[in-house]
Amino acid sequence: MDVRKISKIASLALLCVGFAYASGAKEIKLKTPSLKERSVDGAMHYKVKNGVYAGVYRVNTQVDKIKKFNHGRQATKEEIKFNDIDVRYDWQGLPDGKGSVAQGEELYNKNCVMCHGDFGAGGKGYPTLAGGEKSSLKNQLLDPDSGDEPPVKTIGTYWPYASTLWWYVKTGMPFPHPMSLSNDEVYAIVAYLLSLNEIQIDGEDLDDDYVLTKEKLMKVHMPNEDGFYPNVNKYGPEIMKKFLSDPSNYGTQTVRCMKNCPTGKVVHIKHTLDEAINPPVTTKRDLPKETKKEGGANSKYAKLFEAKCSACHTNKAIAPVIGDKEAWAPRIKQGKKTLYTHAIKGFQGMPPKGGNADLSDADVKGIVDYIVSKSK
């Protein structure tokens, strides 16, 4: 039924370096370049030849003769110090500071619990931070209907280095306003998270009054420190070239099976995810339906809401979502005064001013008015 003939012996012969017949299957083994011809990632290493890069792009060859362009200016020590915020696995970059587990718990409950749940248990769509067993990492939930358990990847079961934890909290958290915690506060939160994960330091449990310092943190070895490979710390990037140049390390093949190849059964979609696609997929070519203009979307409080509050108030697992009339009705019923108080002073999972200490009381009230106007 094809208009083309199925076999093209002539062109196949050019590509193949050998045929193999395994259990009746006809296979073509492909030619692979030597390590010398490859880049650090096992990919083809392209060069400029006769002014052409990779055989396709013409390039300016004058630039090779230029030793220095001398653009830009020298960075100052202050600029480097201010921006050098990383903490490497060998602890390069870790600043001084200290904080206790108890302080960390308090800070956690103020800044983190609304997303990561009590005791780092997760449950609101954001990562679970504690719990699980390292032994679970061997679990495979292969067939969704098998009832098997998947691995549990938390700080304690999976992360190889505590340096990552300090770095992550300092520069990435709290999610809506990172770079707002002092170094001492970061130490406290890290102490609390390590204690939740039952990490010991010098054989000592991290009890409530345990004070984590730079020296103590640098002694931490995470339970899964040896759980990662290839060992680039020891061998440098060169080992990756070897690893990535051999596709058998990652399930990719070097043989094209052409005839009588092994196959499997046809598995259809049983548990679809299509329903929650937003908006639903359609390939229709028509005019868009008239949508109501979003009143005041550019107002000051709309913008403040977007910047300061929407990380939680657009996620129904965390907080009542703006525009959700059902969720807001009982709250609105309590009266504006109560809503203002709760928003400014905090209430249950809602931290004072949503964790935005920089907002004035008047701004918070304005945002509350905006949310109410959108949700009734």
Partner: protein, 448 residues
């Protein structure tokens, strides 16, 4: 869908598999308009032929036709960490033609929202093991000789919902975490001439200026080979979603490494092991150990016509049509693509068409006579380094299903007699389970 919010990451959650009947699969495909004998489009003067169009000063930045309003990125609440700030908007791959993705449709993955940066206030800082630490403004960077190259960027989690079983019946969500553009910028090897690299330097930390301050470790060899700092895509400034005003481009490598809103490059002698190299973007293998770094995106392909979104329901028996698709590899150029009609038992060669560029989308084509017989249609790409796209059994047998990233197994469409197209998988769970059981401890040892 509420129960899904309680779960953690894309493939480690069991709730990901929603327990509903297969019959509830949403019909998303729209049959193309078939011409009937009653077609009178050419027997009347259309409205737009009888009045003036828009004046040329109406849209000073051009917009697509309003009829194209459904050609957009789309989101899904499961493909996020609880909100739409650390999340992804999928590229409508099923709607694209050629190998260039329009800037407004380029997939958008970010970890702390799309930063809106004032280019006048943006600086690139280069420091660490260099003779002269540098501060560069955008104007400084644009003084260096520029290059333009076409490369895809693909998130390593592309297709991660499909490890255990097929779940999406739309190409946009099967493969939409990738796009391909022409990028313009400056090779880092030029800029680093001015900084002067000290002996012993091996690694580079690249960090963004946005809320997530995302840092990633990249070997210096790659940075000096073909990495660029880019400020333009498809002829205009980067879009904010792509890191305006400056992003790193590491051709062929994990999307995540192409750090957006690039602010800082630190040169060092050791890897950093950042959050996206430890807690995430690492591949947990069935033996309980994880591959920590996996840089290139492997050889891959998918048939774009037909696909679940664009089925063959409008064809009649005997129609001669083109089967078309995309192939790509982070290891180099695409060498060829094979096609199967029987679910992978027998394969024939398709033809490549258009530009065949390294680390870029490449189109393939096969002319086919549709006889209304059911097909199990799939493509399989192979690249310049001799890597061949694996079957699901081959890939899962090695990698298991818990590593989330770097899924490049063959994608199969079930084409029914009526022309409907569904995403299916050709696999043998029993065989996979047997393959996975093989302990790989010895294998890990040699890399330690």
């Amino acid at each position: 869908m509420k129960e899904h919010n309680k779960k953690v990451s894309v493939s480690s959650r069991r709730g990901f598999f929603k327990k509903i009947a297969a019959s509830a699969v949403a019909a998303t495909a729209v049959a193309p308009v078939a011409l009937s004998a009653k077609d009178d489009a050419l027997l009347k003067e259309p409205e737009w032929g009888k009045k003036l169009g828009d004046p040329v000063n109406k849209h000073l930045y051009g917009m697509p036709s309003p009829y194209e309003h459904n050609v957009i990125r789309r989101t899904h609440e499961l493909l996020s960490s609880g909100d739409f700030y650390a999340s992804v908007a999928m590229c409508p791959v099923h709607e694209l033609e050629g190998i260039i993705t329009p800037n407004g449709l380029f997939f958008n993955r970010c970890h702390g929202g799309v930063a809106q940066i004032d280019p006048n206030e943006h600086r690139l800082l280069i420091h660490g093991m260099v003779e002269k630490p540098l501060v560069l403004t955008l104007e400084d960077i644009k003084k260096y000789p520029k290059e333009s190259r076409i490369h895809f960027i693909e998130c390593p989690a592309n297709g991660s919902t499909e490890w255990r079983a097929p779940q999406f019946n739309t190409l946009q969500f099967l493969k939409g975490m990738m796009s391909c553009a022409e990028w313009t910028g400056v090779r880092l090897s030029h800029i680093l001439k001015d900084a002067g690299i000290k002996p012993g330097a091996k690694w580079v930390l690249a960090e963004g200026a946005d809320d997530s301050h995302m840092g990633r470790t990249i070997p210096l060899e790659k940075i000096l080979d073909d990495a660029m700092v880019v400020f333009a895509q498809n002829g205009e400034a980067l879009r904010p979603e792509q890191g305006y005003p400056l992003r790193l481009l590491v051709p062929g490598w994990e999307g995540n490494l192409n750090v957006k809103w690039l602010k800082r490059l630190e040169i060092g002698d050791k890897p950093w092991h950042a959050k996206e190299e430890t807690s995430k973007y690492t591949m947990l293998m069935p033996n309980g150990k994880a591959v920590q770094y996996f840089w290139p995106m492997e050889v891959n392909s998918v048939i774009t016509r037909p696909c679940p979104d664009y089925p063959w329901t409008h064809l009649k028996k005997g129609d001669i049509v083109e089967i078309e698709g995309l192939a790509w590899s982070g290891h180099g150029k695409i060498k060829g693509v094979d096609i199967t009609f029987d679910g992978g038992k027998n394969w024939v060669e398709a033809e490549l068409k258009g530009l065949v560029l390294p680390k870029a989308w490449t189109r393939f084509s096969y002319i086919f006579k549709w006889e209304g017989k059911p097909l199990l249609l799939a493509s399989r790409a192979y690249d310049e380094v001799g890597n061949v796209q694996p079957t699901i059994d081959q890939e899962v047998g090695k990698m298991g299903v818990e590593n989330i990233y770097h899924r490049n197994a063959i994608v199969t469409w079930e084409v029914k007699a009526n022309g409907e197209v569904n995403n299916v998988q050709i696999r043998d769970y029993k065989k996979e389970r047997e393959m996975i059981k093989k302990d790989a401890k010895e294998e890990v040892k040699k890399w330690m």
